[in-house]
Amino acid sequence: MTQIAAIAVLIILGGVIASLVSGSIPAFKAFGFDFITTETWNPVTDKFGALASISGTITTSIIAMVIAVPIGIGVAIFLTELCPPVLRRPLGIAIELLAGIPSIIYGIWGLFVLAPFLQQYIEPALIGTFANIPGLSSVFAGPPYGIGTFTAGFVLAIMVLPFITSISRDVFETVPPVLKEAAYGVGSTTWEVVWNVVIPYTRVGVIGGVMLGLGRALGETMAVTFVIGNAHRISASILAPGTTISATIANEFTEAVGDLYTSSLIALGLILFVITFVVLAFARLMLMRIESKKGV
């Protein structure tokens, strides 16, 4: 009985993969491998290519990780090494609670509060600062729309921040106190303890946590859908509107008419699933390694 239930979990995952594959066959039949490498996305002429969505997904996730990883690890260091013990538990709990807030909340906040703020203050400043630097000037170009790839990445960063923080804090706490005490004993500063003892000891786990956050950022739908602008093209500028796989599906699925359109959207879902599966599997393997190190 219990074994049947356990196998049912396997069947669910198998079902997910099977249904995505079967649903996306028409799209892959019609466009072949070009589906992944072309940018055109035109429902009127029934021509679909996934490249804009894929690149948007990857770009927003990279922006999110660039912002969230250093800050998340910084907060974790603050919580484990610097924070007064009285505040440690409440702050830790607060962060864990925030990790559970539904993504639609981050989306609505991003649309009504963050996007106008970025449009008014941050984006003009970015455009001004990098205008004369070759290379970067095209990354930060164009009018400040407020909504766009950069805003989406920023919202994602705030979303995955509690996630990365709480996992990094958990793995930091697996460091045996003896090691830290020994390092302090030979006269290390707090930073040297963190940099030379804590981080090397927990490197695998931290990478696992970051990958887990990345998996979440890649698949995140609602928060991104609100602020990305849903434009099917690849812009050099990260301030321009773009789209991601999940935002495309969320925006267009209920309006999709015609088998090829629907099938193309499902094919997008399959690509997203494959990407996140690889990232998440990698993250879990990393975290498993640190578990076994802990000797449970």
Partner: protein, 278 residues
Amino acid sequence: MSLYAGRRRSNSIAMTLCFAAAIFGLGFLALILGTLVWRGVAGLNLAVFTEMTPPPGNEGGLLNAIAGSLVMTIIGVAIGTPLGMLAGTYMAEYGRFSKLAMVIRFINDILLSAPSIVIGLFIYELLVVRMGHFSAIAGIVALAVIVVPVVVRTTEDMLNLVPTPLREAASALGMPRSHVIRRVCYKAARAGLITGVLLAIARVSGETAPLLFTSLNNQFWSSDLNAPMASLPVVIFQFALSPYQDWQQLAWTGALLITFAVLTLSIGARWLAGKTVR
């Protein structure tokens, strides 16, 4: 001495940065909650709980969306929980070190953080296409699929916390294995098991993406599970992206309600979990 000063300086720079990171991160999160309360409370009144979602420009509330969310969440959790509990029990009690359990644990962890929109597509292919129309049933199944991995994980973790001598003692008294699990292990881990269910409810009550193309939405009151049904997150999504002021206000109020519900559930879950582990 200059070496020492340099080390001191890099230490204080690094620590200031960590401190700044904490302020920045926690500040943003506080800002989000603050905005939510500020904008949400403004639209909070009795009509929100007693009237249907309005056409733009009219008075109205969120009653059908709240009811739809409750119905789908409750039934979804009711389907997903027993399945998850049984699977978790298998992994903790029967097959703890078997190859099968290892594989399932891995797969379950993947499902746990798989993008929920993909689950929505799966149910769309499985149910909506076969039935030919969007329906609350499809939404419920989608939520159930999301519930399962959460419950599997907590059930397994909590049963693993039950001390082995307890099981040995019960077995020594001649209890069959199934009795040991039901009467002894479940009882010892009860608070933890409830925690898992609460966490699952908290998780699915904010889910939007999988409902977008399973249960869709409904402007009116509906108790027909075979028809499209409104839900709070989907209504928020639609209303927030609309150009109408009053719809946007309702979206903020709905967002406040969901956040409040989710936070209450997760605080309750933590409180219960704290009682188990002790």
